[in-house]
């Protein structure tokens, strides 16, 4: 509060102001607050239907119109085109996976499958690898102590199809039913857009490394800094402001991606 703002109030205005400031606080429903907090912290909120259906605004259709169109197209495909649901393709290793904030044994694939919804946050411990499929649209591999929020169903006028990688490694392979539009993968250091490809996105402490095994991906801290990174290369982006670099994929990364590709090659048929 800046006292200077109120220096020139008349006594009548001051009387009203004092009365307003004497009003009590607004209390939210405790259950609502607790539920929203849980969903926000776990990432479940990303899967929630918007309570407010907002009108489209022309201002939103600026430089990012193309990805929004892509998101809308995929939303239509998923929501009204008889689109598939997410399913558990495989789980390897032992440990406890967190799905929407709920701990589930890696071996309990039925329970994992029950909890997987669009936009859900998944935390996989070291030693466990979880692979999810959205029909033959795409396969996601969440491996090695990773924290990933899978794409939500785009909703509203400003929605986008976006997956988030908090830390760890996410492998992505698009399939034949991928609608030819853009999927965005987001980390603290940058944005990756892909249109049908196989990549790995590795989010470490202070950096993001994106390896492209097949196809081409647009990678940068934002769209103004995109590089087209083609098969066999990786782009590394740093949080400390160092210049990003594009270099050949490390042999170990290439091997992991190739194994992922082979495991899911049926998706391409």
């Amino acid at each position: 509060m800046n006292e200077r703002d109120d220096m020139n109030l008349t006594p009548a205005e001051r009387q009203i102001q004092d009365a307003i400031r004497g009003l009590g606080d607004v209390r939210a429903d405790a259950d609502f607050q607790a539920r929203l907090r849980r969903e926000f912290v776990s990432g479940e909120i990303a899967a929630a239907e918007p309570a407010v259906q907002l009108p489209n605004k022309a201002a939103r259709w600026s430089w990012f119109a193309a990805p929004l169109l892509a998101a809308a197209a995929l939303a239509l495909f998923m929501l009204w085109g008889g689109g598939p649901d997410w399913s558990v393709r495989s789980v390897r290793g032992d440990g406890t996976i967190q799905v929407a904030g709920q701990p589930v044994a890696a071996g309990d694939t039925d329970r994992i499958a029950d909890l997987i919804v669009p936009g859900v946050r998944i935390v996989v411990p070291d030693g466990v690898e979880l692979e999810l499929a959205l029909g033959d649209v795409m396969v996601l591999g969440i491996i090695r102590d990773s924290d990933v929020t899978i794409p939500a169903e785009p909703v509203g006028g400003d929605a986008a199809l976006v997956a988030h990688v908090g830390h760890g490694e996410l492998l992505v392979k698009t399939g034949p039913s991928f609608p030819g539009e853009t999927l965005q993968l987001v980390t603290a250091e940058g944005l990756t857009e892909l249109v049908g490809t196989t990549i790995a996105i590795n989010k470490g402490d202070g950096f993001t490394c994106v390896c492209v095994l097949e196809g081409t991906a647009r990678i940068g801290k934002d769209r103004d800094h995109f590089d087209e990174v083609s098969a066999g290369s990786r782009k590394v982006m740093f949080a400390d402001g160092r210049e990003p670099m594009i270099v050949p994929i490390e042999p170990g990364h290439r091997r992991d991606l190739r194994e992922f590709e082979v495991r899911n090659q049926d998706l391409a048929r």
Binding site: M1, N2, D5, L9, A12, E13, Q15, I16, Q17, A19, I20, R21, G22, L23, G24, D25, V26, R27, A28, D29, F32, Q33, L36, R37, E39, F40, V41, S42, G43, I45, A46, A48, P50, A51, V52, Q53, L54, P55, K57, R121, D147, T149, D158, A160, V162, H164, G166, H167, V186, T187, A188
Partner: protein, 210 residues
């Protein structure tokens, strides 16, 4: 997303480094972890700003369900845009901007206009804690309660732009300069609108105040 968190209109509100400490905005380190969607940092952000967001939404919509809808939408947008947060700035003005914009869009929608016509704080009598002074006698309590209710209803009848300025200044503690960042108006225009709002409230409450 309503607005890029790093756009110039968010700058200059509280541009200094965010100080640590109880009751203060989140630290820069916490905000960096919010960007990475660290659960503890998200929880801290929620705990610090939920009341302000819900309070603004409730005062602006006058309806508990609408306020819950708007609040949920705000946190959805924040979650989606967390990676774009500027860890060097207080996210408060950005959050207030999102909330205010969602309320505005709600008014502009058909359903919002219908809700506006039925604006009533009576629908949620427990939502606002109008607590009279401790030790007040029953008659004083009743009078204080009536007066507070009248004032709440008068604020609810203010034109939206005036109501927003009053709520942000007197209930959310924003300066006119900060409000100008939220509304996009120049600070003198905000100051003038605030003054007009106070006088309009005084007209509406003439009988109650005398």
């Amino acid at each position: 997303m309503d607005r890029d968190p790093q756009s110039p209109r968010q700058e200059g509100v509280t541009g200094a480094s965010v100080p640590p400490g109880p009751g203060s905005p989140l630290t820069g380190a916490q905000l960096k972890r919010v960007k990475a969607r660290d659960p503890d940092a998200l929880a801290a952000l929620f705990d610090h700003y939920f009341g302000r967001i819900y309070g603004l939404a409730f005062r602006m919509t006058g309806d508990k369900a609408a306020a819950e809808d708007v609040t949920q939408e705000v946190f959805l947008k924040v979650h989606r845009a967390a990676h774009q947060l500027d860890a060097g700035r207080d996210p408060g003005p950005w959050l207030m901007t999102i909330t205010a914009n969602l309320c505005k869009e709600r008014w502009r929608s058909r359903s919002g206009r219908q809700e506006k016509q039925t604006f009533s704080l009576d629908a949620t009598p427990d939502a606002v804690a109008n607590v009279p002074a401790v030790g007040a006698d029953p008659e004083t309590e009743v009078l204080a309660g009536d007066r507070a209710r009248s004032l709440e209803q008068a604020i609810g009848r203010l034109p939206e732009a005036m109501r927003l300025v009053v709520v942000l200044h007197d209930m959310q503690g924003l300066t006119h300069e900060e409000i100008s960042e939220v509304t996009g108006d120049a600070p003198p225009a905000v100051r003038k609108r605030y003054s007009r709002a106070l006088m309009k409230l005084r007209e509406m409450l003439q009988d109650v105040l005398e």
